[in-house]
Amino acid sequence: MTGNPGETHVADADSWPAWLDRELCPVEQARVEAHLAACPGCRAAREEWQALHECLAVYAPPPEAPATAEAFWQRLAAQLRPRAAQPDPAPLLTPLALAVGHAIWQGLTVALAALAMLGGWERLAPTWQRLAGAELLSALLRSVAATTWWGAALAEAGSWLSPAIPSDWAGSLRLVAAVTVSWWGFVALAGLYAAWMLLWLRQPSPVRQGT
Protein backbone atom coordinates (compact mmCIF):
# COMPACT_ATOMS: atom_id res chain seq x y z
CA MET A 1 0.00 0.00 0.00
CA THR A 2 1.53 3.27 -1.02
CA GLY A 3 1.21 6.56 0.75
CA ASN A 4 3.15 8.98 2.85
CA PRO A 5 5.40 7.46 5.53
CA GLY A 6 3.68 7.46 8.90
CA GLU A 7 0.28 8.08 7.38
CA THR A 8 -2.51 5.83 8.60
CA HIS A 9 -4.20 4.10 5.73
CA VAL A 10 -7.96 4.07 6.02
CA ALA A 11 -8.05 0.44 4.93
CA ASP A 12 -6.13 -0.42 8.11
CA ALA A 13 -8.28 1.70 10.41
CA ASP A 14 -10.98 0.34 12.69
CA SER A 15 -13.44 2.74 11.11
CA TRP A 16 -12.98 1.22 7.64
CA PRO A 17 -16.15 -0.97 7.76
CA ALA A 18 -18.15 2.01 8.98
CA TRP A 19 -16.90 4.03 6.02
CA LEU A 20 -17.88 1.24 3.63
CA ASP A 21 -21.34 1.19 5.16
CA ARG A 22 -21.65 4.99 5.09
CA GLU A 23 -22.00 5.05 8.85
CA LEU A 24 -19.32 7.67 9.53
CA CYS A 25 -20.14 11.29 10.17
CA PRO A 26 -19.93 13.47 7.03
CA VAL A 27 -16.60 14.96 8.08
CA GLU A 28 -14.99 11.56 8.61
CA GLN A 29 -16.57 10.22 5.46
CA ALA A 30 -15.09 13.11 3.49
CA ARG A 31 -11.68 12.62 5.11
CA VAL A 32 -11.62 8.96 4.09
CA GLU A 33 -12.67 9.80 0.57
CA ALA A 34 -9.92 12.40 0.33
CA HIS A 35 -7.42 9.79 1.42
CA LEU A 36 -8.77 7.30 -1.10
CA ALA A 37 -8.31 9.81 -3.88
CA ALA A 38 -4.60 9.94 -3.09
CA CYS A 39 -3.89 6.35 -2.07
CA PRO A 40 -4.01 3.61 -4.73
CA GLY A 41 -3.56 0.89 -2.09
CA CYS A 42 -6.66 1.91 -0.16
CA ARG A 43 -8.56 2.27 -3.43
CA ALA A 44 -7.67 -1.30 -4.31
CA ALA A 45 -8.86 -2.44 -0.87
CA ARG A 46 -12.12 -0.60 -1.40
CA GLU A 47 -12.61 -2.35 -4.74
CA GLU A 48 -12.14 -5.70 -3.07
CA TRP A 49 -14.74 -4.96 -0.42
CA GLN A 50 -17.07 -3.57 -3.05
CA ALA A 51 -16.64 -6.79 -5.04
CA LEU A 52 -17.58 -8.78 -1.95
CA HIS A 53 -20.68 -6.66 -1.49
CA GLU A 54 -21.71 -7.26 -5.10
CA CYS A 55 -20.88 -10.94 -4.89
CA LEU A 56 -23.21 -11.38 -1.91
CA ALA A 57 -26.15 -10.09 -3.92
CA VAL A 58 -26.52 -13.49 -5.59
CA TYR A 59 -27.60 -15.01 -2.28
CA ALA A 60 -31.33 -14.41 -2.51
CA PRO A 61 -34.41 -16.48 -1.75
CA PRO A 62 -36.05 -18.16 -4.73
CA PRO A 63 -38.73 -16.05 -6.42
CA GLU A 64 -42.33 -16.67 -5.41
CA ALA A 65 -45.70 -16.18 -6.98
CA PRO A 66 -47.45 -13.00 -5.81
CA ALA A 67 -50.32 -15.04 -4.35
CA THR A 68 -47.97 -16.91 -2.00
CA ALA A 69 -48.38 -14.41 0.81
CA GLU A 70 -52.18 -14.67 0.70
CA ALA A 71 -52.00 -18.46 0.69
CA PHE A 72 -49.55 -18.36 3.57
CA TRP A 73 -51.95 -16.18 5.53
CA GLN A 74 -54.86 -18.51 4.84
CA ARG A 75 -52.87 -21.43 6.28
CA LEU A 76 -51.67 -19.38 9.23
CA ALA A 77 -55.09 -17.95 10.04
CA ALA A 78 -56.40 -21.46 10.63
CA GLN A 79 -53.85 -21.88 13.43
CA LEU A 80 -54.45 -18.59 15.20
CA ARG A 81 -56.42 -18.95 18.35
CA PRO A 82 -59.00 -16.24 18.78
CA ARG A 83 -58.45 -14.13 21.81
CA ALA A 84 -60.24 -11.48 23.71
CA ALA A 85 -59.41 -7.91 22.97
CA GLN A 86 -56.36 -6.92 24.91
CA PRO A 87 -55.99 -3.43 26.24
CA ASP A 88 -53.11 -1.42 24.98
CA PRO A 89 -50.11 -1.65 27.24
CA ALA A 90 -50.03 0.96 29.95
CA PRO A 91 -47.98 3.94 28.89
CA LEU A 92 -44.45 3.58 30.11
CA LEU A 93 -42.60 6.06 32.19
CA THR A 94 -40.54 7.62 29.47
CA PRO A 95 -36.98 8.86 29.97
CA LEU A 96 -38.27 12.38 29.36
CA ALA A 97 -40.78 12.08 32.20
CA LEU A 98 -38.04 10.71 34.43
CA ALA A 99 -35.75 13.58 33.55
CA VAL A 100 -38.46 16.16 34.20
CA GLY A 101 -39.32 14.53 37.52
CA HIS A 102 -35.69 14.45 38.51
CA ALA A 103 -35.21 18.09 37.59
CA ILE A 104 -38.27 19.09 39.63
CA TRP A 105 -36.96 17.13 42.60
CA GLN A 106 -33.54 18.76 42.32
CA GLY A 107 -35.05 22.21 42.01
CA LEU A 108 -37.29 21.60 45.00
CA THR A 109 -34.38 20.60 47.19
CA VAL A 110 -32.40 23.65 46.17
CA ALA A 111 -35.37 25.90 46.86
CA LEU A 112 -35.94 24.32 50.25
CA ALA A 113 -32.28 24.59 51.11
CA ALA A 114 -32.29 28.25 50.17
CA LEU A 115 -35.38 28.83 52.28
CA ALA A 116 -33.87 27.03 55.22
CA MET A 117 -30.64 28.97 54.87
CA LEU A 118 -32.34 32.30 54.73
CA GLY A 119 -34.92 31.44 57.34
CA GLY A 120 -37.62 32.41 54.90
CA TRP A 121 -39.88 29.53 55.70
CA GLU A 122 -40.49 30.74 59.21
CA ARG A 123 -41.43 34.14 57.85
CA LEU A 124 -43.60 32.77 55.08
CA ALA A 125 -45.53 30.30 57.20
CA PRO A 126 -46.12 31.63 60.67
CA THR A 127 -49.04 29.24 61.16
CA TRP A 128 -46.88 26.24 60.57
CA GLN A 129 -44.27 27.75 62.75
CA ARG A 130 -46.76 27.97 65.61
CA LEU A 131 -47.95 24.40 65.07
CA ALA A 132 -44.67 22.60 64.62
CA GLY A 133 -41.95 24.91 65.73
CA ALA A 134 -39.26 26.63 63.76
CA GLU A 135 -36.63 24.04 64.58
CA LEU A 136 -38.78 21.17 63.33
CA LEU A 137 -39.48 22.92 60.04
CA SER A 138 -35.90 23.95 59.64
CA ALA A 139 -34.68 20.40 60.26
CA LEU A 140 -37.23 18.96 57.85
CA LEU A 141 -36.24 21.38 55.17
CA ARG A 142 -32.57 20.69 55.67
CA SER A 143 -33.15 16.93 55.52
CA VAL A 144 -35.08 17.16 52.29
CA ALA A 145 -32.56 19.55 50.85
CA ALA A 146 -29.73 17.21 51.80
CA THR A 147 -30.94 14.59 49.31
CA THR A 148 -28.97 16.28 46.55
CA TRP A 149 -25.40 17.49 46.49
CA TRP A 150 -26.13 21.14 45.96
CA GLY A 151 -29.06 21.04 48.34
CA ALA A 152 -26.80 19.59 51.00
CA ALA A 153 -24.16 22.18 50.29
CA LEU A 154 -26.64 25.02 50.61
CA ALA A 155 -28.12 23.58 53.78
CA GLU A 156 -24.64 23.23 55.23
CA ALA A 157 -23.88 26.81 54.36
CA GLY A 158 -27.13 27.78 55.99
CA SER A 159 -26.25 25.96 59.16
CA TRP A 160 -22.97 27.86 59.29
CA LEU A 161 -24.58 31.19 58.61
CA SER A 162 -27.55 30.91 60.92
CA PRO A 163 -27.15 28.15 63.47
CA ALA A 164 -30.56 26.95 64.57
CA ILE A 165 -29.59 24.59 67.29
CA PRO A 166 -32.35 24.54 69.88
CA SER A 167 -31.39 25.69 73.31
CA ASP A 168 -34.03 23.74 75.20
CA TRP A 169 -34.84 20.04 75.66
CA ALA A 170 -38.18 20.21 73.91
CA GLY A 171 -36.64 21.83 70.89
CA SER A 172 -33.87 19.24 70.75
CA LEU A 173 -36.36 16.39 70.94
CA ARG A 174 -38.40 17.92 68.15
CA LEU A 175 -35.28 18.25 66.08
CA VAL A 176 -34.29 14.60 66.61
CA ALA A 177 -37.83 13.48 65.81
CA ALA A 178 -37.91 15.62 62.72
CA VAL A 179 -34.60 14.32 61.45
CA THR A 180 -35.65 10.71 62.10
CA VAL A 181 -39.03 11.07 60.45
CA SER A 182 -37.67 12.94 57.48
CA TRP A 183 -34.83 10.47 57.06
CA TRP A 184 -37.20 7.54 56.89
CA GLY A 185 -39.47 9.54 54.67
CA PHE A 186 -36.59 10.09 52.34
CA VAL A 187 -35.71 6.40 52.42
CA ALA A 188 -39.30 5.52 51.53
CA LEU A 189 -39.31 8.04 48.70
CA ALA A 190 -36.00 6.78 47.39
CA GLY A 191 -37.30 3.21 47.57
CA LEU A 192 -40.39 4.15 45.62
CA TYR A 193 -38.25 5.96 43.08
CA ALA A 194 -35.94 2.94 42.71
CA ALA A 195 -38.91 0.59 42.36
CA TRP A 196 -40.38 2.88 39.75
CA MET A 197 -37.11 2.86 37.82
CA LEU A 198 -36.78 -0.91 38.08
CA LEU A 199 -40.31 -1.38 36.87
CA TRP A 200 -39.57 0.81 33.90
CA LEU A 201 -36.30 -0.93 33.08
CA ARG A 202 -37.93 -4.33 33.28
CA GLN A 203 -40.44 -3.37 30.65
CA PRO A 204 -39.36 -4.85 27.31
CA SER A 205 -38.26 -2.39 24.69
CA PRO A 206 -40.19 -2.44 21.42
CA VAL A 207 -37.57 -4.47 19.57
CA ARG A 208 -36.07 -6.34 22.48
CA GLN A 209 -38.95 -8.54 23.36
CA GLY A 210 -40.52 -11.72 22.23
CA THR A 211 -37.49 -13.94 21.78
Binding site: D21, A51, L52, C55, Y59, T68, L76, P89, P206, V207
Partner: protein, 188 residues
Protein backbone atom coordinates in the same frame (compact mmCIF):
# COMPACT_ATOMS: atom_id res chain seq x y z
CA UNK B 1 -56.31 -7.63 1.46
CA UNK B 2 -53.53 -5.09 1.52
CA UNK B 3 -54.33 -1.50 2.41
CA UNK B 4 -52.51 1.71 3.03
CA UNK B 5 -53.15 1.53 6.75
CA UNK B 6 -50.06 2.15 8.86
CA UNK B 7 -48.34 -0.58 10.83
CA UNK B 8 -49.24 1.14 14.07
CA UNK B 9 -52.92 1.24 13.23
CA UNK B 10 -52.95 -2.39 12.14
CA UNK B 11 -51.10 -3.46 15.28
CA UNK B 12 -53.60 -1.56 17.42
CA UNK B 13 -56.48 -3.33 15.74
CA UNK B 14 -54.76 -6.71 15.89
CA UNK B 15 -54.27 -6.19 19.61
CA UNK B 16 -57.99 -5.81 19.91
CA UNK B 17 -58.30 -9.26 18.38
CA UNK B 18 -58.70 -8.37 14.72
CA UNK B 19 -57.38 -11.26 12.63
CA UNK B 20 -58.09 -9.27 9.50
CA UNK B 21 -55.68 -6.54 10.62
CA UNK B 22 -53.08 -9.09 11.56
CA UNK B 23 -53.55 -10.73 8.18
CA UNK B 24 -52.65 -7.46 6.50
CA UNK B 25 -49.47 -7.32 8.53
CA UNK B 26 -48.67 -10.91 7.58
CA UNK B 27 -49.16 -10.24 3.89
CA UNK B 28 -47.12 -7.06 4.16
CA UNK B 29 -44.17 -8.59 5.98
CA UNK B 30 -44.11 -12.24 5.04
CA UNK B 31 -41.55 -11.61 2.31
CA UNK B 32 -39.26 -9.82 4.71
CA UNK B 33 -39.42 -12.62 7.27
CA UNK B 34 -38.94 -15.35 4.69
CA UNK B 35 -35.95 -13.54 3.17
CA UNK B 36 -34.23 -13.18 6.55
CA UNK B 37 -35.00 -16.78 7.49
CA UNK B 38 -33.83 -18.05 4.12
CA UNK B 39 -30.52 -16.23 4.37
CA UNK B 40 -30.07 -17.41 7.94
CA UNK B 41 -30.90 -21.07 7.24
CA UNK B 42 -30.19 -21.49 3.52
CA UNK B 43 -33.39 -23.43 2.90
CA UNK B 44 -36.62 -22.19 1.35
CA UNK B 45 -38.66 -24.87 3.11
CA UNK B 46 -37.11 -24.08 6.49
CA UNK B 47 -37.61 -20.38 5.89
CA UNK B 48 -41.31 -21.05 5.31
CA UNK B 49 -41.52 -22.95 8.61
CA UNK B 50 -39.63 -20.21 10.42
CA UNK B 51 -41.98 -17.58 8.99
CA UNK B 52 -44.94 -19.52 10.33
CA UNK B 53 -43.36 -19.71 13.78
CA UNK B 54 -42.53 -16.01 13.67
CA UNK B 55 -46.06 -14.90 12.89
CA UNK B 56 -47.60 -17.28 15.39
CA UNK B 57 -45.30 -15.83 18.04
CA UNK B 58 -46.10 -12.33 16.88
CA UNK B 59 -49.82 -13.00 17.25
CA UNK B 60 -49.39 -14.41 20.73
CA UNK B 61 -47.02 -11.69 21.94
CA UNK B 62 -48.52 -8.70 20.22
CA UNK B 63 -49.74 -7.29 23.51
CA UNK B 64 -46.17 -6.97 24.72
CA UNK B 65 -45.17 -4.75 21.80
CA UNK B 66 -45.33 -1.34 23.39
CA UNK B 67 -44.43 0.76 20.39
CA UNK B 68 -46.82 -0.32 17.68
CA UNK B 69 -44.81 1.55 15.07
CA UNK B 70 -41.78 -0.64 15.84
CA UNK B 71 -43.51 -3.74 14.48
CA UNK B 72 -41.04 -4.13 11.60
CA UNK B 73 -37.97 -4.09 13.86
CA UNK B 74 -39.70 -6.48 16.20
CA UNK B 75 -40.32 -8.90 13.34
CA UNK B 76 -36.64 -8.80 12.39
CA UNK B 77 -35.84 -9.74 15.94
CA UNK B 78 -38.33 -12.59 15.93
CA UNK B 79 -37.12 -13.82 12.53
CA UNK B 80 -33.45 -13.92 13.53
CA UNK B 81 -34.26 -15.54 16.84
CA UNK B 82 -36.55 -18.20 15.31
CA UNK B 83 -34.00 -18.96 12.59
CA UNK B 84 -31.24 -19.52 15.13
CA UNK B 85 -33.58 -21.66 17.22
CA UNK B 86 -34.34 -23.73 14.15
CA UNK B 87 -30.66 -24.18 13.33
CA UNK B 88 -29.90 -25.21 16.89
CA UNK B 89 -32.71 -27.76 16.87
CA UNK B 90 -31.67 -29.26 13.55
CA UNK B 91 -28.23 -28.20 12.35
CA UNK B 92 -28.77 -30.31 9.24
CA UNK B 93 -31.22 -27.61 8.17
CA UNK B 94 -28.32 -26.05 6.29
CA UNK B 95 -29.17 -27.65 2.94
CA UNK B 96 -25.89 -27.66 1.14
CA UNK B 97 -27.28 -30.09 -1.40
CA UNK B 98 -30.16 -27.80 -2.28
CA UNK B 99 -27.99 -25.55 -4.37
CA UNK B 100 -25.82 -28.18 -5.98
CA UNK B 101 -25.64 -28.16 -9.73
CA UNK B 102 -27.93 -30.84 -11.12
CA UNK B 103 -27.41 -33.20 -13.98
CA UNK B 104 -28.68 -30.68 -16.49
CA UNK B 105 -26.02 -29.39 -18.81
CA UNK B 106 -25.79 -25.61 -18.66
CA UNK B 107 -23.87 -23.17 -20.79
CA UNK B 108 -20.48 -22.35 -19.31
CA UNK B 109 -21.43 -18.88 -18.15
CA UNK B 110 -24.52 -20.13 -16.39
CA UNK B 111 -22.59 -22.93 -14.75
CA UNK B 112 -20.01 -20.49 -13.47
CA UNK B 113 -22.74 -18.23 -12.12
CA UNK B 114 -24.36 -21.18 -10.36
CA UNK B 115 -21.02 -22.23 -8.90
CA UNK B 116 -20.49 -18.72 -7.68
CA UNK B 117 -23.94 -18.57 -6.12
CA UNK B 118 -23.31 -21.90 -4.47
CA UNK B 119 -19.96 -20.74 -3.11
CA UNK B 120 -21.52 -17.57 -1.70
CA UNK B 121 -24.29 -19.54 -0.08
CA UNK B 122 -21.86 -22.00 1.50
CA UNK B 123 -19.63 -19.21 2.73
CA UNK B 124 -22.53 -17.29 4.31
CA UNK B 125 -23.95 -20.42 5.93
CA UNK B 126 -20.52 -21.30 7.31
CA UNK B 127 -20.43 -18.07 9.34
CA UNK B 128 -21.17 -18.20 13.06
CA UNK B 129 -24.86 -17.55 13.68
CA UNK B 130 -24.40 -14.22 15.43
CA UNK B 131 -22.13 -12.91 12.67
CA UNK B 132 -24.48 -14.14 9.97
CA UNK B 133 -27.38 -12.36 11.64
CA UNK B 134 -25.54 -9.05 11.63
CA UNK B 135 -24.43 -9.58 8.04
CA UNK B 136 -27.93 -10.46 6.82
CA UNK B 137 -29.45 -7.41 8.47
CA UNK B 138 -26.79 -5.11 7.05
CA UNK B 139 -25.96 -6.48 3.61
CA UNK B 140 -29.36 -7.76 2.57
CA UNK B 141 -31.86 -5.80 4.63
CA UNK B 142 -29.92 -2.53 4.64
CA UNK B 143 -30.41 -1.78 8.32
CA UNK B 144 -28.18 0.84 9.93
CA UNK B 145 -25.75 -0.13 12.68
CA UNK B 146 -28.07 1.43 15.23
CA UNK B 147 -31.06 -0.51 13.98
CA UNK B 148 -29.07 -3.74 14.00
CA UNK B 149 -27.94 -3.05 17.53
CA UNK B 150 -31.57 -2.62 18.57
CA UNK B 151 -32.76 -5.73 16.75
CA UNK B 152 -29.98 -7.93 18.11
CA UNK B 153 -29.83 -6.12 21.46
CA UNK B 154 -26.09 -5.57 21.26
CA UNK B 155 -23.93 -2.43 21.31
CA UNK B 156 -23.11 -0.70 18.03
CA UNK B 157 -19.44 -1.52 18.54
CA UNK B 158 -20.31 -5.20 18.66
CA UNK B 159 -22.30 -4.83 15.45
CA UNK B 160 -19.22 -3.38 13.78
CA UNK B 161 -16.92 -6.10 15.04
CA UNK B 162 -19.32 -8.87 14.00
CA UNK B 163 -19.71 -7.38 10.55
CA UNK B 164 -16.00 -6.94 10.19
CA UNK B 165 -15.34 -10.52 11.25
CA UNK B 166 -18.04 -11.89 8.96
CA UNK B 167 -16.73 -9.95 5.98
CA UNK B 168 -13.16 -11.01 6.62
CA UNK B 169 -14.25 -14.65 6.70
CA UNK B 170 -16.29 -14.21 3.54
CA UNK B 171 -13.46 -12.50 1.72
CA UNK B 172 -11.13 -15.34 2.58
CA UNK B 173 -13.69 -17.97 1.56
CA UNK B 174 -14.74 -16.29 -1.67
CA UNK B 175 -11.42 -14.98 -2.87
CA UNK B 176 -11.67 -16.64 -6.27
CA UNK B 177 -15.29 -15.65 -6.76
CA UNK B 178 -15.01 -11.97 -5.99
CA UNK B 179 -14.97 -10.96 -9.62
CA UNK B 180 -17.96 -11.56 -11.90
CA UNK B 181 -17.91 -14.86 -13.83
CA UNK B 182 -16.97 -13.14 -17.03
CA UNK B 183 -13.84 -11.71 -15.42
CA UNK B 184 -12.76 -14.76 -13.45
CA UNK B 185 -9.17 -15.94 -13.69
CA UNK B 186 -8.37 -18.50 -16.37
CA UNK B 187 -7.02 -21.12 -13.96
CA UNK B 188 -10.53 -21.77 -12.66
Amino acid sequence: MSSGESDAALVQRARQGSKEAFGQLVVRYRGLVVAVAYRMTGSAATAEDVAQVVFLRAWMQLASLHDAAAFRGWLYRLAVSASIDQLRRSPQALPLAESQVGDTVHPEGETLARERAQAVRHAVLALPNHCRAALVLREFEGLSYKEISQVLDIPVGTVMSRLSYARTLLKAALGAHLSPPGRRPVEE
